[in-house]
Symmetry: C2
Subunit: 177 residues, 2 copies
Amino acid sequence: MKRITILLIAVAVLAGFAIFAAITSRHAPAQEAAPIFGITIPPGYRDWRLISVAREEGNLNDIRAILGNDMAIKAYREEKLPFPDGTIITRIAWNCVPSEENNKLFGRPQSFVPGSAPDWYLQVIVKDSKRYAATGGWGFAQFNIDGKPAAEAVLTNCFPCHQAIKARDKVFTRYAP
Amino acid sequence: MKRITILLIAVAVLAGFAIFAAITSRHAPAQEAAPIFGITIPPGYRDWRLISVAREEGNLNDIRAILGNDMAIKAYREEKLPFPDGTIITRIAWNCVPSEENNKLFGRPQSFVPGSAPDWYLQVIVKDSKRYAATGGWGFAQFNIDGKPAAEAVLTNCFPCHQAIKARDKVFTRYAP
């Protein structure tokens, strides 16, 4: 009887492990690194603090939130440049769509909200002045909502534009107070 | 000699207290509560996690970030309605202005970023099903960037609009994944 109890407990423990492993793997699929810079999606970035927001019209037609890790937020708030190694800034973009619900209540077509995710859903820049010395100390990556990295040809466009922002360590986004 | 030392230490400690008090009071000015609902600006709300973003054209012409306290974020992510008592959601709005800097690099006028703060800079809604039973369990407040609450006449407009959003516990903003 004792042996059966021990066996049952052992089976229960193993089942627990199996369920835990299944849940864990579902929430953290193997992450494909972006080309050139070898950047993966930073874990927990959606919990990071807000740096600013933006709206791009034209072909992009998206609405954006720019989030930063603790190092990024500290540097922004203390207005300390250049950003220290380890700074990570993420930019989430959603297709910008009219909110019919809001417009009905406002009585006019004026309200726009995040819709589905465009191909350029998530962009990540990582500061590492040694590793990314050739691109001003920044590594660049882009992922779609399924975590698939954008091709090399997309990433080679990043630095040529970013380097124009000399006064702010090549970062477009300013902190929105 | 011993007595003088003790006296000097006492003076130094008092000076420390005075400096500390001065710094503290500079960072936390006495907060005026909003009318009707008695809401004050939630301490540290600018560090809260992002719920979503939005863009209002027309007379408002602003761009927005919607942040939530831990309770709000949990309820949104678990899709649990109604929001529990203690939920606080803040909405920051900035005047939406073109970014000449970005537009020059994009080669066309498409980029909009946060500018100065409009009078409706900060809105706060607080869930308290007993205290705010008359307004669907929500209290409403608005502050300008200097922390000055909006008048009673502004706040009486909140609930009549919010109550239309029956399916989502009277909250306009959806979570942006």
